[in-house]
Amino acid sequence: MTSTEVAVERPPVSTRRNDRARRVPARGPRDLQRTFQLVLATVWLLDAVLQLQPFMFTRGSNGFSGMLNSLASGNPGWIAHTITWNGSIVYHEPVLTNALFASVQFLIAFGIVWQRTVRPALAVSVVWALGVWWFGEGLGGIFSGGATPFGGGPGGVLFYALLAVLLWPREGSDRPFVAARTVGVGAAKVVWAVTWGLLAVLCLVGSGRQPQALHDLVAGLDSGQPGWLAHLDRSTETFFLHHGTAAAIGLAIVCLIVASGVYLPDRLTQVTLVLAMVVFAIIWVAVQNFGGILAGGATDPNSGLLVVLLALTYWPLSDHDPLTNRSPRRTVTEEASAS
């Protein structure tokens, strides 16, 4: 990726030997908040392109409108009505609405890239994420009791909104951690604790601790997956069927440990963050199946990837941390001339 390389300071003066010998001072500290914004923009770009899959432009139960309507079940009547109302609009104008949805996501992705538009883009992303959470994810299954974090509960798209708030541009230092730069250390820690506390609760309520429900969660995804993932799914299904309740309780305990992690000394915080990232990376692959993208019927990568990004924004940084400092610029010798 070109961004990891260094900027050309000046054109060559004379010989290659002179160029190689010429070193310029190191740049200032790396802007990690900006780096994370760009990673978030990359995920938005992935979402935009996923929206361009052919089935999204079709009507019927296998189309986008059918997908939206299926999310209404289990919700209170008036909420279900709003979801099916939206589904009917998509049903009648599948090409127009889907092209519009994709365009909005392209605008968010590229809007975050430019410094001048990053704030409006992040603001739109919050509104859009909440809209998708309501109309496109059926409120994450909260009202139907199926919002287990194993399946992405309380809604993978909420993490986009949360990250947009925590990564809102603000001048200042990335220390003690990136998420604190905008909202402050105290508020950022409260946000973290509440988020993970909520995830812990969702592990245990509704169908979140029922072995059969957890088994069905994975079984519903394995159709169309590549062989290696389908094989992994079968192991996960068997595991949930026999140890579903224990797994739910275990994940709830992990979430509570992670929730308290930001109030611990830095070293222990790092341990809890690694725990969170490893656990949710495993869930993202073995349970969420990358959001179902590999089966060719997904609109986003679900929550696993975003949770890992969220955890990274809370990674404790020190003045001597290599993450916060750029490497010195390299010489300006022409790469091409090396040959």
Partner: protein, 225 residues
């Protein structure tokens, strides 16, 4: 209109041909100015643009699949060699040529596994079918994500034009590339060039062609899942 969005494929195929035409023009201008850094990227983008247009629209495809595979294999090896060379020259870093090696690999895979990752109908209709061979969708997703990241980080980079020339190359700065601190290349070294040439070789335009290529290639990989 419902079903397969052919208008979308036409749009992307048109964009691919536009990128190929632009890179051909850029190659011509660069040769005229004897400013040949980035020529390999231009050639790769020309080949990729033409091949991708044929993947999006069957009628626009031509040439034997094996010939395209050979071309992209050669390009991939070339960019891998340039990446290694860059690391030897400048130490451990992510070389500029790595993304072009990955793009060449993706093209090679898309021709080698034309049936798509899951065996479903891919829009890559211009490619010959290889029975029983399927591209792993996980690899497709990984490559697509790398291309999207390249598009985003290229746009955000302060080193304009780096998508074609890398950031170790000084002469792309001669046509106005601006670094992170707003400095431009040393104009004492700039040869006078025409306005049209300057527009064609504008670093932001070079980056735009790379971004379009990355998004289109990522879309094709997603469509092949």
């Amino acid at each position: 209109m419902t079903g397969s969005p052919t208008w979308l494929y036409h749009l992307f195929a048109g964009l691919m041909l536009a990128v190929a035409a632009y890179c051909l023009l850029l190659l011509f201008v660069s040769a005229k100015e004897r400013r040949m850094s980035g020529w390999d990227v231009d050639i790769a983008h020309i080949a990729m643009g033409i091949a991708m247009a044929g993947m999006f629209i069957t009628e626009w495809s031509f040439g034997a699949s094996w010939a395209w595979e050979f071309a992209f294999f050669v390009l991939m090896i070339w960019f891998i060699a340039r990446s290694i060379q860059s690391i030897q020259e400048f130490g451990i870093h992510l070389p500029h040529y790595a993304i072009h090696a990955l793009m060449s690999l993706a093209m090679l895979l898309m021709f080698a596994f034309p049936g798509g990752a899951s065996g479903g109908p891919a829009p890559a209709m211009g490619m010959s079918e290889t029975a029983g061979s399927r591209l792993d969708p996980g690899l497709s997703l990984l490559l697509a994500f790398a291309f999207f990241a390249s598009a985003i980080f290229t746009l955000a980079s302060h080193s304009k034009g780096a998508s074609h020339h890398g950031t170790h190359v000084p002469d792309y700065a001669l046509v106005g590339a601006v670094d992170g601190d707003g400095r431009v290349g040393d104009h004492a070294h700039v040869r006078p060039i025409g306005v049209l040439d300057k527009v064609v070789a504008a670093p932001w335009l070079e980056d735009a062609s790379h971004v379009v290529m990355c998004v289109a290639m990522g879309l094709m990989l997603i469509l092949m899942i």
